[in-house]
Amino acid sequence: MVRNLFIIFILAGVASMFAALALGYSDPVALGSAASHYVSKGLAELNGVNIVTSVVVTYRGLDTLGEVTVLFLTASILSFFLKNRSHETKSESSELLTTASKVIFPFIFMTGLYIVMNGHLTPGGGFQGGAVMASALLLLILADNKTDGSPTLFTVLESVSGIFYVLTGVAGLIIAGGFLDATVLGAGITGRLLSAGAIPLISTLIGLKVGSELSTMLVKLKNASEV
């Protein structure tokens, strides 16, 4: 009884906090100072059409580096706690499923790669495309019980992408304005695939890293959960 009262008390306190936010909310009429700088000068400085991607990759690049680090830590902790139980016998997988999944897999993977590489032109970017590529691999390992993707390829790809991401940032420190500055490579013509400096390169590296990390996590979870 006391516990229920305590819960209701906490929930009422949180609700009053949000009620104050909702009631006192007036629609803003103009962008803030940082946002207006990103929008108005973003095209001139970086030549990227998608403003959110240029904010994520260059203007707030350190946050993205921290996020990639957190994902790496997550994959490591998962690998540490989930032991490989591949000595258990696995059930047979039907041939129809495996063949169909191998036919569909390239299309999903190509969609993910497209989303990654066009991150600076259309909605997309590294994280979205990486998640789609991991979903393509998930289709393969769920349809065929015995396959594991290729764990060494994922580990190598993840490490190499991470190293090159940091090296690109350091190159920005040496050549251009600061760490992870995207003007390391040329700006190019607006709207082309190879434009916006180093943003497509960084997006591709992030996409590969996130895709291989999520794939490793999914393979480990599936191997540990074999009944």
């Binding site: 962008l31 946002a35 403003i51």
Partner: protein
Amino acid sequence: MAVTGIITGSLLILIGFYAILSKNNLMKMVIGFSLADTGVHIIIVALGYLKGRTAPILDNALLAANPETLVVDPVPQALVLTAIVIGFGITAIMLVFVWRLYEKYGTLEISRIGEAK
């Protein structure tokens, strides 16, 4: 229109907190955490919405005019992008810990786990 998002996000946070605080099952707690996380993201994106404007992708029509008066705030979207991915990672780690607890104690209910110690 942004107020609708704020109210939805607040209700999601309340529902998630209720699941974490009062439920006996560990999986329900993890589901509640994921719901509260989604609520926070909805509130942040709703706060960045400006009336009558469009998405922050500069196409030809926006490039001709002054894009600063025609585009929604891109900074909360960048922050929520990061937050969604990190929330997924944290929930995956929580699920692995729930599984290890189940392996050790054989039950998912915290009352029985508390008694067994």
